[in-house]
């Protein structure tokens, strides 16, 4: 189990029962040592998301237009889907698709 702090903002929280921050213990896949962002994301979709999963993910990644940060750093600098999520890490999903 890895303790992950999920943050949802920019309208993304609307898909997660209006919760902006969720702390959760995310299980690793069978036998794997590390939790990846890809696995954490899929877990959030299956366990935390309350509606319209297609607005969160497309295929095995986020829907284009959703920004992802790992500990406040653009996931593009961390290895994107393959980035490792350690105990206590913060994964942030920000929608840019919502209007004002």
């Amino acid at each position: 189990m890895v303790r992950v702090v999920f943050e949802f903002s920019g309208g993304m929280e609307l898909l997660f029962g209006n919760q902006k921050v969720v702390e959760a213990d995310v299980p690793q896949h069978n036998g794997e040592q590390q939790l990846t962002v890809a696995a954490a994301m899929a877990w959030a979709r299956d366990n935390l998301l309350t509606e319209r999963p297609e607005l969160f993910m497309k295929g095995s990644s986020v829907r284009p237009g959703v920004l992802v940060l790992l500990n406040d750093t653009d996931w593009e600098l961390c290895g994107e889907l393959e980035a490792a999520v350690a105990d206590g890490d913060r994964v942030t999903f920000i929608s840019t698709l919502h209007g004002g």
Partner: protein, 447 residues
């Protein structure tokens, strides 16, 4: 896997810039983005010292970052602008009320005044009431048409010279695609302009035209700017649907795609249209609407009666499909009304003739031949009815901008032209504050 900022090389990078792929730290990112917007503003000469600029504010990410950025740059570079926030309250409970609270906080945070205008005050209808009357199929048409006029009316009431909007690069790229898909040639020719307003009384500027949505959102996130994001309760996620998603897909594959779309649109030359080089293309002329004024409310309109007045008439008469259905229908039929408008305008010298003529059967399809002095030519201005606007060339483009309604080209020229033909410097109807505050076609409410 810690990456250092390529600019200062001392701090840890927090994001990769989509346009340049550079990893930057927070401070270097702020500086780079602010400098870029400043350069956009300077290069396009978006503002002049002393101008009163309305920042169209919805409380969303783009307008919140715009308000922050403009107040910052105004102070840093001494633009000398008198900035204020302008918000429109569509009257959508549970949606706009919340975002207006955000704008009210922005007023305090950025120390610039806020003015709010509501559909209820301007038109006599809230969006909630409109949806109750028309349902949720065409409600966005009403909202879009009304918002555009509401911003202009609000800005005019508080004496703005210009409206700045938060449209970003992603928005512009989407619009380019949508106009291609719709085959909307006139709009395609101008949608990537950084200054627009051919069909508005006030110029509109887009300081974020080249700014990626990702960077706007990252800027707001790192600076912890107070913005509101939700979906309109009447149109969840509908706004621009597939075009939006397509642009994001393109960006994911190749981030430069967004700016490339904008650049390509800037290269479009619409035959007979606004923008430069139109006469040299040799292409088939496209009849572009000529600016005129709505007979009822005076708002700038290419038709004898503007869209807002038609929609309001439908609402007020309990015929909400009026003006919404695909085929344009006015109560008398377009030809009759247009002809009447042309007659009326010819009689009293109003510029409505420009819009009317463009719609009249006589003028339709004559873009290549002009009216040859038959009096219906939109370019020939009511002051010189006997003189054709051109000698058999394309009517709408090859005219010198010297005379009134002839100028369909640059927004400034169009604005000046319309002002000129109104005979009194500036849009006559905008001088009458009372008339702006209460739309002439508004539902008259019993007290």
């Amino acid at each position: 896997m810690v990456r250092q900022c390529v600019h200062c090389t001392s701090q840890r990078a927090v994001l990769r810039r989509p346009k340049t792929a550079e990893p930057l730290c927070r401070e270097c990112f702020y500086a780079a983005l602010e400098q870029e917007v400043h350069e956009t503003i300077s290069a396009a000469r978006l503002f002049k010292p002393g101008e009163r600029v309305a920042v169209a504010a919805s409380g969303g990410k783009d307008s919140t970052v715009l308000a922050h950025m403009l107040t910052t740059l105004n102070a840093r570079h001494g633009y000398g602008l008198d900035l204020f926030l302008l918000s429109i309250d569509e009257g959508i409970s549970g949606y706009r009320d919340d975002s207006l609270e955000t704008v009210k906080r922005n007023e305090a945070q950025y120390q610039i005044p806020l003015h709010v205008f509501s559909y209820k005050d301007l038109y006599g209808w809230t969006m909630d009431e409109i949806v109750a009357a028309v349902g949720t199929k065409s409600n966005c048409t009403f909202c879009g048409v009304f918002r555009r006029q509401a911003l202009d009316r609000g800005a005019a009431l508080v004496g703005a010279d210009k409206i700045a909007t938060g449209h970003n690069a992603d928005d512009v790229a989407e619009t380019v695609l949508l106009n291609i898909l719709r085959g909307d040639v006139p709009r395609l020719g101008r949608c990537a302009n950084i200054i627009t307003g051919e069909d508005s009384p006030l110029p509109r500027v887009k300081p974020f035209k080249y700014t990626y949505e990702k960077e706007i959102v990252m800027y707001a996130y790192f600076k912890k700017l107070d913005y509101f994001s939700t979906e309109c309760i009447y149109s969840p996620f509908a706004a621009r649907g597939f075009a939006r998603e397509f642009v994001k897909d393109l960006e994911a594959a190749r981030p430069r795609a967004i700016v490339d779309l904008i650049r390509s649109a800037e290269q479009f030359r619409v035959p007979g249209g606004s923008g430069s080089g139109s006469s040299s293309t040799g292409g088939k002329a496209v009849a572009l609407p000529q600016p005129g004024n709505c007979q009822r409310c005076g708002y700038i309109s290419s038709q004898p009666v503007c869209k807002a007045c038609i929609l309001l008439e439908g609402l007020n008469k309990g015929l909400p499909r009026l003006g919404v259905s695909r085929t344009r229908r006015t109560p008398k039929g377009p030809a009759a009304e247009a002809a009447a408008a042309a007659d009326a305008a010819a009689a009293n010298g109003l510029p409505a003739a420009a819009g009317a003529a463009a719609d009249a059967p006589l003028a339709r399809g004559q873009a290549g031949t002009c009216c040859a002095g038959q009096g219906s030519c939109s370019g020939s201005s009511s002051r010189q009815p006997a003189q054709p606007c051109c000698a058999g060339g394309t009517c709408s483009s090859s005219l010198p901008a010297a005379d009134g309604a002839a100028a369909a080209s640059a927004p400034a020229a169009a604005a000046a032209a319309a002002a000129d033909t109104n005979g009194g410097g500036g849009f006559a109807y905008l001088q009458n504050k009372a008339a702006i505050a209460s739309h002439p076609s508004a539902r008259q409410l019993a007290d």
